[in-house]
């Protein structure tokens, strides 16, 4: 789509916005429409050149922005915005239906609000969008019991005591966490909070909390506790993590689907070379053992060596019949 067809939909929303918000300020409107002030003024100048056939001064849209206050007149023809497109309405409807699926998220009032918004949008958008949005579904894992406790702690502003399982390290650790919010990413609920053990903001999967208890201590995350940016996914390896190269057979391709990879190269016949970053050597060793005959560590050699050592120690259990004694 060309730039002018991007600009036109914006103008067809801008004019109605200004009509229904007479006297709006330039900076505020620019922000809402994601424009610089200069771009907004340029849009206003363009609108000012347009109007009804005849194009005498009386036919043209009259817009002024003296002192940054935008006033608009003579634009009744396009005073209402264009109706929602199928994609626009569907994007909202699918997301709203997903919220509806997450019953523990919603207080009774929220559920009710959701149903009302869905009905209103479906009416405003027409049949197409309602049909598409019922064909696109985001499943939400049924939230574990922990959610109720986590929500209570958030509401009451209390610290939580967790017994948390980390499968990558096969480790259960006690944690004290000041809860900040619940993040549902790709259908899975997490608690985001300040972890006193890690001394950092961490995400905890709710279904991996073996125990969760509200402490009689007010939650008081330190000032540097900023919410994590999850827009690029929940797991983001850090550039300082170790770079590892694996080769997998077709039966080991799932690695590239499960973990964020730096690079994936097809080697033919369904084989892959996968480069990924990992913080934790223990996790990598487990991954390599799990892959077994369906993948191998190419680099670094020291990791390959560690994997062989672990495999050999595990095999020894099966070699020695006298291990019983």
């Amino acid at each position: 789509m060309s730039a002018s067809t991007d600009r036109l939909p914006r103008l067809l929303a801008l004019v109605p916005y200004l009509m229904s918000h007479q006297g709006a300020q330039v900076p505020e409107v620019a922000k809402i429409f994601g424009l610089t002030e200069k771009q907004l003024i340029d849009d206003l100048q363009l609108v000012w050149m347009c109007g009804l056939p005849g194009h005498t001064p009386g036919d043209l849209i009259d817009v002024s922005w003296d002192g940054g206050e935008i006033l608009i007149e003579n634009a009744e023809t396009i005073a209402r915005p264009l109706r929602l497109g199928v994609d626009e309405a569907s994007a909202l409807l699918v997301a709203l239906r997903m919220l509806l699926e997450f019953p523990e998220f919603a207080e009774v009032g929220d559920r009710d609000a959701l149903a009302r918004v869905i009905a209103k949008l479906e009416r405003a958008a027409g049949e197409g969008a309602a049909a598409v949005s019922s064909q696109v579904a985001v499943e939400v894992d049924s939230a574990p019991d922990a959610l109720a406790v986590v929500k209570d702690a958030l509401r009451a502003g209390r610290r939580l005591s967790l017994t948390y399982y980390v499968p990558g390290r096969d480790e259960v650790t006690p944690r004290e966490v000041d809860p900040m919010r619940v993040v549902v990413a790709d259908g899975r609920p997490y608690l985001e909070g300040w972890c006193y053990r890690a001394e950092a903001v961490r995400l905890f999967r709710l279904d991996r909390m073996l125990e969760v208890r509200i402490l009689d201590v007010p939650a008081d995350p330190p000032e540097e506790a900023e919410p994590l940016d999850v827009t690029e996914g929940v797991f983001r390896p850090s550039p300082s993590d170790e770079l590892v190269e694996l080769e997998v057979t077709p039966a080991g391709r799932w690695v590239a689907e499960y973990y964020p990879c730096e690079e994936v190269t097809e080697l033919g016949e369904g084989r892959l070379r996968v480069t990924l970053r990992a913080r934790d050597r223990g996790w990598l060793v487990r991954l390599a053992l799990r892959l077994g005959d369906t993948g191998k560590v190419v680099a670094p050699e020291s990791l390959a060596e560690t994997v062989r050592e672990h495999a050999s120690a595990a095999l020894a259990l099966y070699d020695a019949p006298c291990a019983e004694g």
Partner: protein
């Protein structure tokens, strides 16, 4: 792109909205600045392109063919163009604001943002502060997603290359898509597989290369009562019988495994005896192999052999 063109298109929209009767191309040429300077042929081409671009952004241009007139007439009906009146209560605005932030990638994030802008322009109070302590995100990172969304939207069949799970063999599939479903962070497309002549589920991450539309839009019919989620939730290993494995687990290790065990009892030396229920021996073997020398399979033999095979594979690599 050219400012003059945007001006012309905006004037065209206003002209077609303001008119009471359909206007012929010639009348439009006289009324809309920017067309008047062009020669006949150049004008025709330009007008065709402009109509298409307006339709692309969802502007409903009606064409009237009057038997008494040579030329068709054009008009935009206000009722088809305008966003209907809509008002939101504050609690409704809050959930809508939350919903608008769900999508993480360009196509749907832009669509949701565009919808919110139109609603605001229509005087609807929206609230993008969300619900404070809740954030929801859905990723559509698979390159195949946009094309499949469009195919589902347009009810159009598609063709793509698909890599089989185990073998990695790539086969071309032709699918009548019924819907797309996200389950545990992965996207699936469900539909009628024309090559196999039956309903099938495909994982988007295994689609190799482009998804191309096949045939006309509107050709796909979604059967009544089809349950997309159920189709995606079905796994082959659900048909495998559940069995019990006997393991030796080193004391103080394998916490996750102990959590899921049916029974844990102290054994000899530094070992505990653990009973675990499983269905797919290969799935179990992958997990147990990853735990290395902290676990040993006593029975059944097929699970034991599968673990040994994996460990030998890891040794050889």
């Amino acid at each position: 792109m050219s400012r003059r063109k945007t001006e012309r298109l905006l004037n065209l929209v206003i002209c077609l909205l303001a008119t009471r009767r359909p206007l012929s191309a010639e009348q439009i040429r006289q009324a809309v600045p920017g067309y008047d300077r062009e020669g006949d042929e150049a004008f025709q081409r330009m007008f065709e392109r402009d109509k298409n671009e307006l339709r692309e952004i969802g502007i409903p241009i009606e064409v009237h063919k009057d038997p008494w007139e040579d030329d068709p007439g054009y008009i935009i009906r206000r009722q088809a163009y305008e966003l209907p009146e809509i008002t939101l209560e504050p609690d409704e605005a809050a959930v809508l604001g939350l919903a608008a932030q769900v999508w993480q990638r360009a196509s749907l994030a832009e669509a949701a943002g565009g919808a919110l802008l139109k609603l605001r322009a229509g005087g609807v109070q929206t609230d993008e502060s969300g619900l404070g302590t809740l954030e929801l995100r859905v990723d559509t990172r698979d390159p195949a997603f946009p094309a499949l969304w469009e195919a589902v939207r347009d009810r159009r069949a598609v063709r793509f290359d698909y890599r089989a799970a185990g073998s990695g063999a790539v086969l071309t599939r032709t699918l009548e898509p019924w819907g797309v479903v996200s389950r545990r962070g992965r996207w699936y497309v469900v539909g009628f597989d024309r090559d196999r002549g039956e309903p099938r589920v495909f994982r988007l991450s295994r689609i190799a290369g482009e998804v191309t539309p096949v045939g006309k839009p509107g050709a796909v019919r979604v059967p009544e009562g089809v349950n997309l989620r159920e189709m995606v939730g079905y796994r082959d290993d659900m048909t495998l019988p559940e069995r019990s494995a006997l393991l030796r687990v080193r004391r103080g290790t394998c916490e996750g495994l102990r959590q899921l065990a049916q029974r844990v009892e102290p054994g000899q030396g530094e070992w505990d005896e653990v009973e675990l229920v499983f269905a797919d021996p290969e799935r179990l073997a992958g997990w147990l192999a990853s735990l290395g020398a902290d676990v040993q399979v006593i029975s059944p033999p097929d699970a034991r052999d599968a673990v040994i095979r994996r460990l030998k594979g890891a040794m050889a690599s």
